[in-house]
């Protein structure tokens, strides 16, 4: 099982992911935004990062790019429900262009998440 860093600003969604991944026996570390996510990534050296795209302070796209600069082999899964005028598809397409291993449009099922994790950890 993997050590997964979750970067997500929505408290409920974050808590849901923590429980879901813990039930699947993954080790989980959480961050509320990109900046915190980068700090945790340096400290805990996760096997995989699952990050939201639209977040305060540092958004997911910048976070993914910085993570790649620091460790180009670290696999990342991007997820987005979109917000206001920015659609989830647009966010995930942007994430796809900077090399994420999988993209999840919110809301997704547990199976979708498990598949994305398997795909990212190959």
């Amino acid at each position: 099982m993997a050590h997964i860093l979750i970067i997500e600003d929505d408290l409920q969604f974050r808590e849901m992911l923590v429980q879901m991944l813990t039930r699947d026996a993954h080790r989980v570390t959480v961050a509320c935004d990109g900046e915190e996510g980068l700090q945790h990534a340096r400290q805990v050296k996760p096997d995989l990062v699952i990050t939201d795209i639209l977040m305060p302070r540092m958004d997911g796209i910048e976070t993914i790019m910085r993570l790649a600069r620091e460790d180009c082999k670290l696999p990342v899964i991007a997820m987005s429900g979109g917000r206001r005028s920015i659609s989830a598809e647009f966010n995930l397409e942007s994430a796809g262009m900077i090399g994420v291993k999988a993209a999840l449009a919110k809301p997704f099922s547990r199976n979708d998440l498990r598949q994305a994790i398997s795909q990212a950890l190959i």
């Binding site: 929505d10 409920q12 969604f13 808590e15 849901m16 992911l17 429980q19 879901m20 039930r23 429900g81 979109g82 917000r83 206001r84 005028s85 920015i86 659609s87 989830a88 449009a105 919110k106 809301p107 997704f108 099922s109 547990r110």
Partner: protein
């Protein structure tokens, strides 16, 4: 007849006035008296015309302002719908995730498990609905691509139908199973939504709307002579007068109450159909017998495609 008698009466007043003025002013000749009266009448007429024009201008200005506000309101509603839809995705994500985990804590075949499955089924339906709302409120440039129109129409009708159940049903009959046209899926959704909303309003949201799709030959418009499809939307509502039919595609023209219609629905449909090289026709009668309205939208098939 009545107008003629008023005119005669006015002429009589005019003659009497000239005569009275002529007798009261013996120093003036008849022509001078007649001129005095005609000049003052012309002045009055011009003043009246001016007042009338100012009034008409003010009225027009008010109408324009109302319409601009309505159009801004529509835009705001679209943006709001998109914002809410996206926030719903985040909320639904939590609901689905927690519900799936809660389901793990119940034995299979238990009532608890079954209830959780109902929550999940409803949440996934809500997810689909949000996706449709997003599609219909998307304000992007239309991207024309070959799309299979029968399934697109069916999907659009499912969205409209949800809003009107159970008093109003949409009966879809597909005379063909497959046809490809060049369009943006959102445009087809707009056409179906606007035609069905008008049909539903004409029927006070009760009864049955018939929608049929068939193959057809275009006999007018830029696609004249090309093979195409015909989309038929028939209601049994109050119908439209010839005057309304004449103006129904005008932007902002509406017969609905101010808070019920923007007057943009049919003009949007007309704009889309024209952009896609198609034509739209209507048959309607308004005689108090609810004979209904029938819209026919003809769209050309994508080049080299056949319908079947």
């Amino acid at each position: 007849m009545k107008q003629t008698s008023i005119k005669q009466e006015a002429e009589r007043y005019y003659r009497d006035s000239v005569e009275r003025l002529f007798q009261a002013n013996p120093t003036l000749d008849f022509e001078q008296v007649a001129d005095c009266l005609t000049t003052s009448l012309l002045d009055a007429s011009m003043a009246y015309g001016l007042i009338f024009r100012e009034h008409a201008d003010r009225h027009l200005q008010t109408l324009l302002e109302t319409r601009i506000t309505q159009s801004q309101k529509l835009e705001a509603v679209g943006t709001l719908a998109a914002g809410i839809a996206h926030d719903f995705n985040n909320l639904l994500g939590s609901i689905i995730g927690f519900a799936e985990m809660a389901g793990d804590d119940f034995p299979e075949d238990s009532l608890g498990k079954s209830n959780i499955l109902q929550i999940l089924a409803a949440s996934f339906r809500a997810r689909d609905l949000v996706a449709r709302i997003l599609t219909s409120s998307r304000q992007t440039q239309a991207k024309l691509e070959p799309i299979e129109i029968v399934s697109q129409v069916r999907e659009s009708l499912a969205l409209v139908g949800v809003s009107y159940k159970p008093d109003l049903l949409i009966n879809f009959d597909a005379g063909i199973e497959h046809a490809v046209v060049m369009a943006d899926p959102g445009q087809i959704q707009q056409i179906m939504m606007n035609l069905c909303i008008n049909a539903a309003d004409a029927m006070n949201h009760k009864g049955e709307i018939f929608v049929r799709i068939d193959s057809a030959q275009l006999d007018s418009g830029p696609g004249k002579g090309k093979p195409g499809i015909c989309l038929l939307v028939v209601d049994s509502g109050h119908g439209m007068t010839p005057e309304v039919q004449e103006r129904m595609f005008d932007p902002f023209f509406t017969t609905k109450a101010l808070d019920k219609g923007s007057g943009l629905g049919l003009s949007v449909v007309h704009g889309i159909v024209t952009q896609l090289g198609g034509v739209i026709g209507v048959q309607s009668r308004y005689d108090g017998c609810d004979r209904g309205t029938e819209f026919r939208v003809y769209l050309p098939l994508s080049d080299g495609q056949n319908s079947h």
